[in-house]
Symmetry: D3
Subunit: 138 residues, 6 copies
C-alpha cells in the first residue's frame, strides 16, 4: 500500500479576474462577477498531500514542522492577507484559482525531494475547488 500525509492551511486574499488578452465583453463573459473592477476576496483553504514511505524509526511520512516551515515561507507569508493581482507571478497571468494552485504546486515541489509532493487542492469557496496532482507516470 502507499501512504500519504495531508495538511490543511488557510489564506485570506483578494483577486480580480481580468485577462489583457480578452476584450471587456469577453472578460465579463469569462469571469462574470469575478471581473468586477475593484476586486473581491476569499478564504482559500489549501490542502497539501505528500506521498512517501512511513519512516520506521519515527512512524511518520514527513516531519510536520518542516512541512509547515516550507509552506509558511513559500505560500503563507507570500499570499496571506495579500492582493494576488499585485504578486509578481500574476503580472502576466490571470490570478484564477487554477493558476494559483499550479503556482503553489511548483513553488512547493521545488522545496521537496523529488516525487514527494502529490496533490495541492484549493477550496476557493465551499462550492468550488481546484486540484493539481502530479502526473501518474512519475
Amino acid at each position: 500500500m502507499t501512504a500519504y500525509f495531508g495538511r490543511r492551511y488557510m489564506v485570506s486574499a483578494s483577486h480580480r479576474l481580468h485577462s489583457d488578452q480578452l476584450s471587456a465583453e469577453e472578460n465579463r463573459r469569462a469571469y462574470g462577477k469575478c471581473n468586477n473592477p475593484h476586486g473581491h476576496g476569499h478564504n482559500y483553504v489549501i490542502e497539501v498531500l505528500v506521498a512517501g514511505p512511513v519512516v520506521a524509526e519515527t512512524g511518520m511520512v514527513v516531519d510536520m514542522a518542516s512541512l509547515d516551515g516550507i509552506v509558511k515561507e513559500t505560500v503563507l507569508n507570500r499570499f496571506d492577507h495579500a492582493n494576488l493581482n499585485m504578486d509578481a507571478l500574476f503580472v502576466n497571468r490571470v490570478p484564477t484559482t487554477e493558476n494559483l494552485c499550479r503556482e503553489i504546486f511548483t513553488l512547493l515541489e521545488d522545496r521537496m525531494p523529488a516525487g514527494r509532493l502529490h496533490t495541492v487542492r484549493i477550496e476557493e469557496t465551499e462550492n468550488n475547488f481546484f486540484e493539481c496532482r502530479r502526473a501518474e507516470k512519475e
Copy 2:
C-alpha cells in the same frame, strides 16, 4: 501535473429502496430501514470533478457558468425536490445512491467533451458517500 476543477451542488430528494427481484424478507435484509414502505429522504451533496488543461488565455480548466448550466438541466431540474422512485431511470432499477451516482455520471458525460468528466461523488449523509470515477485506461 494534471489540473482539476471541482464543483459542489445539493439536491433534496426522497427514495425508497426496494427490489422487485428480491422477496420481502430479502428486501428487509438488504436495505434495512431504507426499505420502509413510505420512503424517506436526504440532502444529496453532489460533487463533479472535471479534468483538463488550464486554458492559457483564461486561466481556467472549464467555464463554470457552462458547467452549472449542464448540471442544472441534467441533474438539478430533474432530481431536486423529487421522489427518485418516480423517475423513468428507476422504473426497473433500485434508486440506491450507487445507481444514482452512475446515472448522473452517464448523463453528464454525454454532455461533455470526451475524457473531461473525471469523478461524480455523492454524499447521501455525512457518514456515507459514493463515487464513480472514469476508468484509469481512458
Copy 3:
C-alpha cells in the same frame, strides 16, 4: 453562570408541504418546489440543548445515556427513515420544519423535568434552520 449540554442527532425523512386550507395556487406560492406532488426529503440535523446545574458528584449537567434513550424513543424511532406526512401529528398540520421542531420540543419537554429543555434546533439543509426556545419568563 448558567451551564448547558447540547447533543446532536440526525434523522433522514421525507415530506411534502401542502396545506388543505390553501388552494393549489396558494400552495405553490407558499411552498414552491416543496409542494411537488410526490414529496422529497432531507437529512434533518436535530440539536437538543438542556440547561441545568452541574451536578457536583458527577460533574455532568445531564446523563447522556438517559437523554439519548429519551430522544431515541420519542424522536428517532418515530421519524427516522419515515415519511412525515404519514405521521399522526401531521394529519391536520403541514409537516414544515417549523412544525416538526415545535412537536419535537413538546414531545421531549413532556419527558424531562420542568425547565430543563432549553432549545430544539433543526437544520433542514446546510442553508436553513429552525429553533424553538423555551419562553424567557420560565
Copy 4:
C-alpha cells in the same frame, strides 16, 4: 416557547482595515495583517435569524422566498464580489466585520416588520465570527 427561522448566505468580498483617525503605527497595531495596503478578502458567511409566531395556515415563521428577496436586494447585490472599502457606507467607517454586521442588521431591519429580525451573524473565517442581536428589552 418562541420560534425562529434561520437562513445562511455567502458573500465573497475584499476589504482593507485602515482608520483615518489612527496613525500608521496605530493602524498596524490595531489591525495587523488586515492593514496590508492592497487589501485581502474573505468568504463571509451571513446568517439571518428571524423570530416570530408560526403562522397556523402555512406552518411557517416567515416566507423564505420573500426573505431571500430582501436579502438579495439589500445585501447580496450590494456586497457580493465587491470591495467593501468602495461602498458608500464605509467612506467614513472602517469596514471591519463588526461594522459590516451592524450595517447589515440595520439594512434588513428597515425592510422587516418591527421585532422580527433577531440576529445577524457573520463568519469572517472559520475561526472568527461576529453577531448583532436585537436588544433584549424590545
Copy 5:
C-alpha cells in the same frame, strides 16, 4: 442592538472520567466508556464569545490579538496536548467537559473587564457540546 465577537480555538487533550465519590459500578454507569482505565482523548473546539460596544475609532468589539494572548496564556498553553486528569484543577474534580467549560469560563473572566465574557462553548465531539453563559441578570 448588542454586538458580539466570537473566536474559535482547538485543544487536543486526554482525560478519564472517574469520580472518587462513586463506586466502581456507579462510575461505570455514570460515564460508560469514558471511565475506561487508561483514558482516551478529544479535539476540543473552544469558542469564546465576548460582548461589548463597537469602539468607534477602530470599529472593533475587542482587540483580537489581545484576546488571543489571554486565551493562549490561560487555556492553550495549559490544556493543549495535555492529560486533563494531571492538572491541578482536576485533582478533586472530575474532568468532564462541563467542568472544563466552567473552569475556562472562570479563568478567562478573571482576565477580562467585568461583563465582557459572554459564553464559553466547547465541542467535545461533533455530536456533543457544552456551554457556560454569564447569568442574564448581570
Copy 6:
C-alpha cells in the same frame, strides 16, 4: 467507470508519541508537543473506501451493515475510548496516525475479499490527515 462506497466512523482515543529508538532530545524534536509525558488525545475520523462493481440485484457496491459489523469488531471495539499506547500493536511501534492508518488498513483488508479495500483515511484533527491506498498495480 469504477464505483466506490465510502463510510465514515469516529473514534476518540489518546496517545503519546515516543520512540524508544530515539533519545529524549530526538523525541522532542520529532514529535514536539505530541511527546508530552502524560499523553493527549483526538477524535479520529476514519473513512473507509471500498471499490467494486455495483451488484445488479441490489444496486449496491457493498452491504453497509456487513461493513459496519467488520469495522465495529476490528476497529471501533478495539480503539474507541482507548489509549493507543496500551494496544498490543503499539508495543514496539510508535502510535502515530500513519501507523494507526496502516494497521487499520491491514486489519480490514484481512476481513474483506481481495481487492475490495481501496483507501483508509484518518483525520487526526481538522488540519491533519493520513491515507493508505492500495498499490495501483493490484
